[in-house]
């Protein structure tokens, strides 16, 4: 892809992000519920005290003015103060973001590592018992709700067998000075192996729960595309040449069969962000998803706006990445 094309794609981001900002702002404003009333809860307050609170949150200004102030500040990297945390929204989000990204990446790895071999096996042994079991398994994988599957894993691995912890990111006895914010990497960089194992144990169940639906989808995609490829002339030719079955499957067929798998995985990674909200709640994972859901219920406008904007950037970025990856893997396709 030429540099010109790349810049063009990046420029397309600008209207997308402006549009997202406007939509989120308007939706939050139109949703019933007054942040000040929610904040006061079940307490007495005089009209003057209520007004002071409203003024402090900047909610006494007209809505149009608030939107332009938001956009103007956002362009300078200032997303305002969280109504509840009473600190800059950007700080609060940055504290939570690494946990969400780390969990999503591990879930992605779990999904890829399980889905590809299973998908290939199901394709090679088409219509066998294994293939049918894999089909049922993938159906379950997509259908099982995360909050149910997560609790099931907790009951088995934490409560029954005491092998893994129920919640959190790392034990409170492991004191880790963060470098990247990704605990799996930081513990290794610090050479603290026990803490690394502790972090692995903590991330395992949430990553499996989060990765399950994706595993199911990727397995189906791999199976279908593998079957497709196996029907191609060049595979028949390779077989006819007398190459070993393993060589045909892994050198010739799989390489091409993985193209759709990889691009679907890149796009689906965006949906992991959505799944995060549930998984983070079940496993007490200190990520952004949980924070955003809480903030929506509390009408914490600045935090929701900034977080949704961030999600949009990540989502658009992933799609962009998927497009590029596709052209790299499949030279027949040009952007």
């Amino acid at each position: 892809m030429s540099l010109g094309k790349l810049i063009e794609r990046l420029l397309q981001l600008v209207p997308v992000l402006l549009g997202v900002s406007l939509i989120v702002f308007v939706m939050m404003a139109l949703t019933p519920g007054d942040p000040v009333q929610i904040m006061i809860g079940d307490q007495n307050i005089t009209p003057e005290q209520e007004q002071a609170l409203r003024h402090g949150l900047g909610l006494d200004r007209p809505i149009v003015e608030r939107f332009f102030v938001f956009i103007g500040n956002a362009l300078q990297g200032d997303f305002g103060q969280s109504f509840y945390h009473r600190r800059p929204v950007a700080d609060v989000i940055v504290e939570r973001l690494p946990a969400t990204i780390e969990l999503s990446l591990v879930a992605l790895i779990v999904a890829l590592v399980t889905a590809i071999p299973l998908g290939v096996l199901a394709a090679i042994r088409k219509n066998s018992i294994f293939d049918k079991l894999a089909t049922v398994g993938s159906l379950l994988g997509v259908s099982l709700p995360g909050f149910w599957f997560g609790i099931l894993l907790i009951m088995l691995f934490a409560v029954q067998w005491h092998i893994l912890p129920v919640s959190g990111r790392i034990g409170y006895s492991s004191e880790i000075e963060t470098i990247t914010g990704f605990l799996l990497i930081d513990t290794l960089l610090r050479g603290n192996l026990p803490a690394f194992w502790d972090a692995v144990k903590h991330i395992l169940l949430p990553a499996i729960t989060l990765g399950l639906p994706m595993t199911a989808i990727l397995m189906r995609v791999t199976r279908t595309s593998m079957l497709e490829v196996l029907r191609q002339d060049y595979v028949t030719f390779a077989d006819a040449k007398g190459l070993s079955r393993t060589r045909v499957l892994f050198r010739h067929a799989l390489k091409n069969a993985l193209i759709p798998t990889v691009s679907v995985a890149a796009i689906e990674t965006g949906s992991l962000l959505g799944g995060n909200m549930i998984v983070e709640t079940v496993f007490g994972w200190p990520g952004l998803g949980r924070l955003v859901v809480e903030s929506i219920f509390l009408r914490n406008y600045p935090l929701v706006q900034a977080a949704v904007l961030l999600y949009a950037v990540i989502y658009v970025g992933l799609n962009f990445f998927a497009d590029i990856l596709y052209t790299v893997l499949n030279p027949r396709v040009k952007l």
Partner: protein, 512 residues
């Protein structure tokens, strides 16, 4: 040992039980929500206060039975209806080792009560919790005087909600610094705040001991306290059963049997302070008629609901006040009588029944469905509509600004101080904040206004009793129950008691 055996052993050890190099006594609390901030003056959440309260002490505090006692104050004297003097104890240290003085107390209360005192033109969101405070002054060096604009008898009941910060510390780190760092006088000091995951605290060895009226007095029993945030109740229960945590809050009633049956854990309860009720829209087409409201009251078998849905963990109410609240008294009971309900409905002109909708939040869907089925049995055919809290508040708590829509609203109101002023006035005074029924009775308004500033305790209780008798007869709400707060705890825990204001004070907690 063969290589295979070694490998198996190594992998078994790798995935073996989680054995953190724990401190001698780490008390872990599985708690619903993270703190928003560590600044005692800059938040509006009960959960945040629960956490802060273990780091910071207040002028006054409450014991587990809600009795208000001096903490940082040595004594309290009411000089006149609007003037209170607090003599400050000597020898109290902040966590950084500096002594606490009356100036720190004044500074802390000013931060909450004075408009714009938080810096950048911001006023503390806790200002309204301090009522009509006119000024806070230091007199005689070690006495702090609070002067009110008008009499406000619940000041002592509300003061435990405010904690004392170090003036020098706040001036050094600013409002932003104090939101993530702390320098209190409480039994524990902050070790690390892993945002969204846990807050780790350790015992403050130079602690002055806390309220003399709440023994034992002295430094905390456990070495460290960890608040671990587990929002999902099923996961919180699992963490308790797995032994990961020793206390969990908000144990669902349906998990009580499981926790009690599990070896090593049991349930503790305390009477809560939140009254549950169904608001009936008095401006609506059916519930403007007292007969229809009475029919609804006789249709509900409260004892059955408390028994089956809340596992027996609730106290029935016939007015808005909890049986533990100031001024609460026995009131006439609308007994469960479906035949009477049908007759009243027919007398009101609806022999064929009526069709209505009951709004509620998702968390209370089951309870609302049960109430709906009882109402439906007598001809008040009720459909439950689930909405989100913020949206339902906007629909039902209109403060008379526009006409009210809807039929019924299953809701609740908290009363942490157990003083009627905090619950009776907002829910029953004409057009007040929480008056979701749209109730308006000048006699009740007059009683509530007079009681708010009445200093004679007997007279004040009498006014609330009179007002309760009126609302019991007028029936703007179906008064239901005050649930108990339910905690799951480890058998290793001792010295800790749940508190009705849902604070988790860990000063006296020990682990065996």
């Amino acid at each position: 040992m063969t290589n295979l055996q070694r490998l198996l052993l190594a992998s078994a050890m790798a995935i073996g039980p989680v054995v953190p190099a724990a401190h001698a006594s780490d008390l872990v609390v599985g708690f619903t929500l993270d703190a928003d901030t560590l600044d005692p003056a800059n938040h509006r959440k009960r959960e945040t206060e629960t956490i802060i309260r273990n780091l910071y002490d207040g002028l006054l505090t409450r014991d587990a039975n809600m009795v208000v006692v001096p903490e940082i104050a040595e004594s309290m004297t009411q000089v006149s209806p609007t003037v209170y003097d607090f003599k400050i104890r000597s020898g109290i240290l902040f966590h950084d080792g500096t002594p606490m003085t009356a100036e720190d107390v004044k500074f802390s209360l000013d931060r909450v009560t004075v408009e714009g005192a938080m810096g950048n033109g911001q006023t503390s969101p806790r200002q309204s919790l301090m009522g009509p405070v006119a000024s806070v002054e230091v007199v005689d060096g070690d006495t702090v005087r609070i002067t009110l604009k008008e009499p406000w008898p619940i000041l002592p009941a509300m003061l435990p909600n405010q904690q004392i910060v170090s003036k020098a510390f706040v001036e050094r780190v600013g409002s932003e610094g104090i939101s993530t760092e702390e320098n209190g006088t409480g039994p524990f000091r902050l070790v690390e705040w892993r945002k969204g995951e846990s807050i780790i605290m350790e015992r403050f060895t130079e602690y002055y001991g806390g309220a003399t009226d709440i023994p034992p007095v002295g430094p905390a029993c456990v070495d460290r306290v960890i608040f671990k945030f587990i929002p999902e109740s099923a996961s919180r229960v699992a963490a308790l059963l797995a032994g990961d945590v020793q206390i969990i809050n908000e144990l669902p009633a349906f998990s009580v049997a499981q926790v009690n049956a599990n070896a090593g854990t049991h349930v503790m309860t305390v009477n809560g302070t939140r009254s549950f009720f169904v608001a009936m829209n008095l401006e609506g087409e059916y519930f403007d008629d007292p007969l229809v409201r009475q029919a609804a009251a006789h249709a509900i078998d409260k004892n059955l609901l408390i028994d089956k849905i809340l596992g027996g963990n609730a106290a029935s109410i016939d007015g808005i006040l909890s049986p533990d609240a100031f001024g609460a008294s026995d009131l006439p009971v609308y007994g469960y009588d479906p035949e009477m309900a049908k007759k009243l409905l027919a007398d009101a002109g609806f022999p064929n029944g009526i069709d209505i909708v009951m709004d509620t939040e998702g968390a209370f869907k089951d309870t609302a469905e049960a109430i709906a089925s009882l109402l439906t049995k007598v001809g008040i055919r009720t459909t439950v509509a689930v909405g989100e809290s913020a949206q339902l508040t906007a629909k039902w708590r209109l403060q008379g600004k526009e006409p009210k829509t809807g039929d019924m609203y299953f809701s609740s109101w908290g009363n942490g101080s157990l003083d009627p002023f905090d619950i009776f006035t907002p829910t029953h005074r004409t057009n007040d904040r929480g008056n979701s029924a749209g109730y308006s009775n000048p006699a009740v308004d007059a009683l509530l206004d007079a009681a708010a500033t009445e200093l004679d305790v007997e007279k004040r209780a009498g006014m609330y009793r009179e007002a309760e008798l009126i609302i019991n007869a007028d029936l703007p709400y179906l008064y239901l129950w005050v649930p108990q707060d339910i905690y799951g705890v480890s058998d290793r825990l001792s010295g800790w008691q749940p508190s009705a204001d849902s604070r988790i004070n860990l000063h006296d907690a020990c682990l065996n």
